[in-house]
Symmetry: C2
Subunit: 370 residues, 2 copies
Amino acid sequence: MTISLSIGPQNRKSPFFKSTLQDGLTSASIYNHMYFPTSYGDKSAEYDRLLKGVAMWDVSIERQVAFRGRDAVKFARYLTGRNLDDLQIGQGKYIPLCDYQGKLINDPILLQISEDEIWLSIADSDIKLWVSGIAGSLEYRVDVFEPDASPLAVQGPLATPLIADLFGEWVHDLKFFGFRETKLKGIPVILARSGWSKQGGFEIYLLDSNLGENLWAEVKNAGAKYNIGPGAPNYVERLESGLLSFRTDCDEYSNPFEFNLGRFIDLDQNQEFIGKAALQKIKQTGVKREFVGLQIDGPRFNSPPEDRSSIYSEDNYVGYASAAAYSPRLNSNIAVGVINTRHAIDGNEVVVDFSDHKRDARVTPLPMFR
Amino acid sequence: MTISLSIGPQNRKSPFFKSTLQDGLTSASIYNHMYFPTSYGDKSAEYDRLLKGVAMWDVSIERQVAFRGRDAVKFARYLTGRNLDDLQIGQGKYIPLCDYQGKLINDPILLQISEDEIWLSIADSDIKLWVSGIAGSLEYRVDVFEPDASPLAVQGPLATPLIADLFGEWVHDLKFFGFRETKLKGIPVILARSGWSKQGGFEIYLLDSNLGENLWAEVKNAGAKYNIGPGAPNYVERLESGLLSFRTDCDEYSNPFEFNLGRFIDLDQNQEFIGKAALQKIKQTGVKREFVGLQIDGPRFNSPPEDRSSIYSEDNYVGYASAAAYSPRLNSNIAVGVINTRHAIDGNEVVVDFSDHKRDARVTPLPMFR
């Protein structure tokens, strides 16, 4: 059954929206109050392109929440448990954000743009509200705003040669999450080595939303010799790679330790940060659930389940699978999910209830494809 | 061109989701991270039902942000500029929420549930993040949570007899925004006289999300004799009635005075509240833009514009129309929009650019249908 997406000004269109339509967009979602392209009708081709070639994704929905002012760095340190001692302009950092109860509320990439300006490239929640509320109530001297910045991801093993063709050989020097402000044929952009896949690639942050069609065309034209094509953050590849999908995998009780993000939370630093006391307590007590992979028996999945699927062990509910698909590379059905710690053991046998049928499954460590 | 909506656990389904599918849902959006039914395929029938009969709408997307604790009322008073001196349990209030800069960030209905518990029935932004951030940073003694509450709206001139059939004659005593906790055939609900139309009606807040199909069926069955049918917050009726659609009509610079919400902001109360200083300044300076109606020339609109339409006066940009449609009751094309104050004069002639064509229009006061 197909439900058509209502489109209107209550949500924003990406600067690349027209280009994605011209390139055959067939399905979309809404993310950070923007229309989010999810497929161009051939999911198998989109997967192959990402794994073997190069794909271009409109990920404008990765909105930027910026704050500028004399307290910018101090404020950033209060917002996240990640230790920012070695923060530097031009090098991004993945920073889980928690609320005062230590619950995960987003997992952005932090980009320090200048001495007094920081951007958070966010997942799907209104972090601008969160950040401006905290800044306002605690009187941090920062202005919170949304810059005109819309990422276009270029992902896959051929992304690097393509990006080098477009920008020059210096792109090889960018470390992961490294970024630089530059221009492409006069179009102002930030080029970052980043992207929500494990296939390598870059994100080109368009800095003038009037030039979306131009940037799309530049990348598409230069990519023609690499057989570039459109795509979207890939459902199957992210499962294989064990990437966290914030809203899909988490619930309102999730904390970063459950998702193996403890390495990004420095509880020992002197710095006070939001959720520190709560996170210390959670760490002391130990987590009750963990993010794991699952190998699932039975015939190949043709399409992803619309809902979370309950996981049972000996008829007891022990967790949920949040996404499941057939993995061509593993030649197996796989899933990710959150399961009670005592069942989060490699090889542990469970049953997953896909609402219309049940399947046997085994817990496996993440990432499933190495 | 139709884009299909991607459905997955990254957004939630309403407790009425299955029922809406069975009743022929054809299009949807996403609102407060939930799937939001927008049409059942016959917009004209949906309009007629609302105007002349009774319609049932799945508006679970009106999420509730609750806070409970000894500071609940004190905290509510800090969150909004609305004077809450006469707040009482069982009587809701429309409360614009602003940030520290006086910008509108949501416009919920506040429901005081008990001495120490308040709910906000919100429009589309993550007010739970906002509220928990403010409560946490300023150490208000409240717990912020989302209760299990999903509104089902029953709207139209025949809503009252139907609701009386279902709940009893006491429903006539509910004032507008008045509410009462009760049961319907064992299903726990809050019944409120409320709804996003000017046709009268109620919202039944389902308090057990496992019973969505039951509640839908009860209303549908009892409504059969009134020819009830499914619908959604109505695009045309809300234009005629001049209702504010928070995300559609506002932008990131909007303040409540621009939307004639000044009567809900008490700047003279002693109570300190978020944005008070900024709003005092805005009021002193005077607004630069206003929310107005527009009568638009030319042939009948068949479908709503996907984008905001720029408004020009003598070739100068003076504002935007955020929604436009043909109104059967006014026998005219109408729109709402935000226009520079010096052009917000009844009868003022402007030109609206609908991207593929321009039309002459005249500013009219809201609501356009009285």
